[in-house]
């Protein structure tokens, strides 16, 4: 069965420090990969996605994720964290059947 693992439940970083949120998945077929962000007391918003083509995808607010098929990973990175990035981040995977398999989420904590 397919699964998504976000090993870190919380990631604390200092403001302006680099961020890496890890996501690994297990699947034997081609996948589509997503990162969502949830700010406190809000719904989930799509941050970025990999469907095909370039394995490095970017969001409008400076986050990137790279699809590494050999490592079955889709880690989310940002070179410099801002206070406004504090939120919970969810990784999700689809095998093309309109179902998403979700990771447990990683809470990004920004320290001043």
């Amino acid at each position: 069965a397919q699964s998504v693992t976000q090993l870190d439940s919380q990631v604390p970083v200092f403001e302006e420090a680099p961020v890496e949120l890890r996501c690994n998945y297990s699947s034997s077929v081609s996948v589509y990969l997503f990162w969502y962000v949830q700010y406190p007391n809000q719904g989930l918003q799509l941050l970025l996605k990999y469907l095909s083509g370039s394995t490095l995808v970017e969001s409008i607010n400076g986050f990137e994720a790279e699809f590494k098929k050999s490592e079955t990973s889709f880690h989310l990175t940002k070179p410099s964290a801002h206070m406004s990035d504090a939120a919970e981040y969810f990784c999700a995977v689809s095998e093309g059947d309109y179902q998403l398999i979700w990771g447990a989420g990683t809470k990004l904590i920004i320290k001043p």
């Binding site: 589509y32 719904g43 989930l44 918003q45 469907l51 309109y98 179902q99 998403l100 979700w102």
Partner: protein
Amino acid sequence: DAGITQSPRHKVTETGTPVTLRCHQTENHRYMYWYRQDPGHGLRLIHYSYGVKDTDKGEVSDGYSVSRSKTEDFLLTLESATSSQTSVYFCAISVASMYEQYFGPGTRLTVT
């Protein structure tokens, strides 16, 4: 903005009472989903729909039923609410051939 609204946004109810949550979309998307979100559990799929009158169970469907009599509305019913159903409920839609999901603002349900 995928034009998704949920009602009510907040509800407090007593154990044993029936509760219906409504999800409404304005863009005629085929796929609709109900999730619950609880601390430490991430997002868990309750039920989903792939068309009018076409629904199926998710991983945590016990105690919940759904109905979809119109493309734009997807109803989630708790037949007899229990305290374990206290949660935040999210509705989502999926855009055809894109696989990502877009979420409504959520309903916070408290069962006392």
